[in-house]
Structure formats: C-alpha cells, structure tokens
Symmetry: C2
Subunit: 331 residues, 2 copies
C-alpha cells in the first residue's frame, strides 16, 4: 500500500512540475506567433542587449524609439490599400447628396462598379476622388467618417473588419517592445488622420505617435466656434525619402529600430541603420499566398525590390511570412 501511495504522489508531483514548467515556458515566450528561427532570434537578441544595463549595447529607455510602417507591415494591403477602399466606400455613401456624380467622371464609373474605367483616369481621377472624400470638411468630421467606416466596412476577400486584418505576430512584437521600454511609432505613407482614430485601440499606439501623409489644414472660427478645415492641398507625403523627414519632424531623434515591408520604407531603414550604437532593421516579406498574399518585386502595391536587395546585402532581418509566422491574423 505504502509503495502504491508513494508512486501515486510521485506521479502527481511530476504532473504538477510539468504543468508549472509548461506555464513558465509559455510565459517566457513573448512572441508565441513567431516560429523559432533566425528572424525571431534576431529580435530577442536585439531587445536583450539594448535592455541589459551591463551590456556595452545598453540604450537608455528614452532613446528606445521603434518605428513601424503600417500598410503591409502591421495590417494587410491587398487587394489594394485599405484607405483606397475607404475612399471608394465614401463616394458611394456620399452619392445621394451628389446627383451630378451620375454623369460626371470618375464618379459615374465608380458608382457603376467599373473600377477599370476609374483607374484609367489616372492621377487626375484619383485626385478628384480624394477631393470629394478627404478634404473640405473639418478634422472632426473627417475623423467621424473614418471611425464609422472602420466600425462597419468589411474586407472584400475575407469579409473581416479591416482592423482585424492586422498581423498577430506584429501585435505581439509591438507589445513586447513596449514592455521593454520602447516607444512605438507608426510611420506610414497612409493618411495621418486616417490611422489615428483607431491606432490606440488596435495597436496600442496613441495618436501623438502616429506619423503619416497629410493635407494642409486651416484654423477658422465658425459662429465663434474654432474648427480646423481640411484644405485641398498636400501638406506632406510620408513615403520613401519623406519617412526620415517625417521622423525628424515628429520625433526629433533617430529610431534605433525600424520595421517595414516595401521600397517605400528603404530610406527609413537606411536612416535608422546610420545611427551610432545598436540598430535593428526588419522587412516583412509577403511569401504566403495561402494564408495571406505573395508578392514582392513586381507588385504595384507594396513593391519590395531595392529594399530586399539592400536587406540581404547588409544583413537586415527579413521575415519570411510563410516560414516565420505560426499565425498571420488574430482570427
């Protein structure tokens, strides 16, 4: 009897120990959606060394600035940039107030669903669609139109809310960096006011840490009430060589880590890499046509060509989405 009891107790203890160990292992992995491999290791090693006070690579928390592109880096960008889809939806929503659009291009083609004709209009057509949906209203009215759309619009392929089309491994990475004293910023070619209404809720990034493209705005008093009116004039294009400019304008110091996915992020990564001390540069390579999309050098959206060459030449981390990510989306 005594032996049986002893064996039983031993078994219970082993089970408990295993459970405890597995909890510890799980708790110890801050990036559970990343497969073990070079990409994950490079992140863990970088964060370990810059946060280790004894290390020559230690970086004080105030200087732990990390910048993230948005389209294709934090959320998907296919079959086209989500802000473009927002614009098309807004045209449809505003059409009842604009009967003249029924005969006026590019609105007429768009309302008939003839996207080919719309795109054939080129930059001029795009400019007209932007005018009708992005300017002429106050900053608060624009914010409301974005919030309403984000709360209801669905992705054409997955049927998910656009804010669900975010990459689970990148959400974990954002949280992991912040837990380690990093300040995380978005630096996107997309509209700054298009991202701010939901960046805190979705990414944990407050509006004051969002950098993007913008139109000019003008302070005005309407019936004594101050408003900011969005004007039909480009203020800043936060893409390519504009990204380091936007970073300097908004942050005023050089990031130590930069995350992108396309040639539009190349200068941001170059600017980050050129600082002194430890640096981390990462590109997300879209290689998974089953779970997401596969595209790079030939894609009109999110083209990754020169930046991929430079990453390989300089040893920057390149994430192979298919291989490195256990899971792509949160759903």
């Amino acid at each position: 009897m005594k032996t049986v009891r002893r064996i039983f107790i031993s078994c219970v203890l082993v089970v408990l120990a295993c459970a405890a160990l597995s909890t510890t292992i799980q708790a110890a992995d801050p990036l559970p959606s990343w497969n073990h491999g070079a990409a994950k290791n490079s992140i863990l090693q970088f964060v370990a060394k810059v946060t280790n006070e004894g290390s020559p690579d230690f970086v004080p928390p105030a200087e732990r600035i990390a910048v993230f592109d948005n389209d294709g880096t934090l959320w998907a960008e296919q079959p086209m940039y989500f802000q473009f889809l927002f614009m098309l939806d807004r045209i449809k929503a505003l059409a009842p107030q604009h009967p003249e659009w029924k005969t006026q291009e590019p609105f007429a083609s768009l309302l008939k669903g003839d996207m080919k004709a719309v795109l054939a209009g080129g930059e001029k057509a795009l400019g007209q669609l932007m005018m009708a949906t992005h300017v002429g209203m106050t900053s608060e009215e624009f914010k409301k139109s974005v919030s309403d759309w984000v709360a209801t619009a669905r992705h054409p392929k997955t049927g998910r809310l656009f804010t669900e089309m975010v990459y689970q491994p990148m959400l974990e990475l954002l949280a992991f960096l912040r837990e380690n004293g990093f300040k995380t910023f978005i630096v996107s070619g997309g509209g700054i006011e298009f991202m701010r209404p939901w960046s805190q809720r979705v990414y944990g990034i407050p509006p004051e840490q969002v950098i993007g493209s913008s139109v000019k705005t003008k302070f005005d008093l309407r019936d004594g009430k101050p408003v900011l009116v969005r004007l039909p004039e480009i203020n800043f294009v936060d893409d390519g060589p504009g990204k380091p400019v936007g970073i300097q304008m908004h942050i005023g110091r050089r990031p130590i880590a930069a995350f992108g996915n396309s040639d539009g992020d190349l200068q941001m990564l170059q600017w980050t890499a050129a600082g002194e001390g430890p640096r981390f540069m990462l590109l997300v390579h879209h290689t998974d046509e089953e779970r997401e999309w596969a595209y790079d050098r030939q894609s009109p959206i999110g083209r990754l060509d020169k930046a991929l060459d430079e990453a390989q030449r300089r040893g920057w981390t390149v994430v192979d989405m298919k291989k490195d990510w256990k899971r792509v989306f949160p759903f």
Copy 2:
C-alpha cells in the same frame, strides 16, 4: 521624577508631531514658488477634479494633454527672442569664414554692432541672417550649433545662461502636471530644432513632445551616408492660428490645458477651450519690471492685447507675475 519624565516625553512627542506636520505641509505644496491666491488655486482645483476618479470631471490619463508656449511662458523673451540672439552670435562666429560679409549688408552692420541699421533692413535683412545661420547644413550640424551656443552664451542683462532664464514657477507647474498623469508639450513659434537639443534637460520635455516652426528638410545620401539637409524654405509657422494646426498635426487630439503669454497664443487657448469637458487656460502677464520685465499691449515682443481681453471676458486664469510668483528665476 515620573511626572518630569512624562512631561519630557510629551514634549518630545509634540516636537516630533510638529516636525512631521510641517514636512507634510511642505510636501503637500507642489507649487512652492506660487503665492497663495486665485491663480494658484485655479491650477490646484483643476488638477484635483480631472484626476479624481469619482468626479464627473475625471479625465483618463491618456487625454491629459497640456500645451505650453515657450518664449515668455517658460523662459524669458526680453530684450528680444533668444533665438534672435542665437542668430546674431552665429553670424559673429561664422564671420571668419565669410570675409565678404565685411562689406555686405546686413552682415556688415551687424558685425560693427549697429543693430539699428540691421533692423532697418526689415524682413529682407532678417531673411538673409536666417539663411546664413539656420539652413544649408544638416539637421545634426544645426543641432550641434544650438547645443554649443546654449552651453556658453550669456543673457545680455543678467549674464546668466539662457537656459537659466526659465521661470521657476512654471518648472514646478510642469512637474506637478506630469506627476498627475499629464503629458506636457511645448507649442512655440520658435524653431522646433532650436528647442529640442535642451528641452529634456531644462523642462523634462522630450524632443518628440516639442512642436515649433520649421524649415523644409530633404533626405540625401552623402558618400552613402544618409543626412537630412535643412533647406531655405519655410515649412511651417507655429504661431497664432498655426498653433492649433501644429497641435493637430503632432498630437492629433485636443489639449485640455493650455498655457501662453501673448496674442500668438490666443488661437491655441481658444482651440483648447472649445473642447468638451473640463478645460484650463492660463496666460502669464509680465507685470514685474523689477524681477523680470513689464510689458503687454504695446510690446513688439510678446504683445498681449486681444488675448488679455478674451481671458478677462471668459474667465481664463491670468497670472500677475509680480503678485502671483514668489520667485521668478531658479537663481
């Protein structure tokens, strides 16, 4: 003996209690350089109500945004804006590399010390001085020139470093707000890159929370090394109606508290006041010609006229520097 001992012990206890009480009272005053009065009370009451979770006026920490003008609000601005003095000093420092300035206006007059002739040149002369000192170099070179100047240049009247010419009561106010979960920003007509090199050290405000006027910059590769070059073109004027625009561009949400001292801050205070929920607007009124300077409606620098009227009409807090501040400078 027993009675004597009891009395002695009682005395010791009373002394200890008094000491403890006085420490508590001192510790309880977060604004020791502010005299008791309406201005100090209005600050304390505002902070108390927005941080009291039971209050209907409670504001979540993320929305506790406070914006501060710099010249005349956080540091002095007489006999002229300190950035203007920086510019004059830079011309003198650069003169050996520019022998042509000896005969070329406005440089020639400036180098001879004839400020009247320089100022007679108006905006054109000012523009030429700006060109020679603020653009054409990289952002890092400009930062170095500011840092060097701030470390050594002296105020013409007090002989103090310019970073000592800051208002002790405002330093206490900045710290008090931050202790209560506020995020403090500078929103100044001065140059954004002129303030950033020292804002953390002097005000506890990191570069990413500094908003100001700027020139355009351009990303470039010099011998393969990325640089940002400062161009001879105005990018943004963060003054008057520009301040709400700058706030929206950089912060993306409306402040709940705004601090200024001149008509250039009027729209910032109006924009802040027009939000929903509790609001706090304050103007520093320069009334102390003994300890600082006295000026308002007629001053070409820091003119306070329309904003003073509006503050009085709307019940904004107006600080009477002479009456409300126990101490002006830290020295």
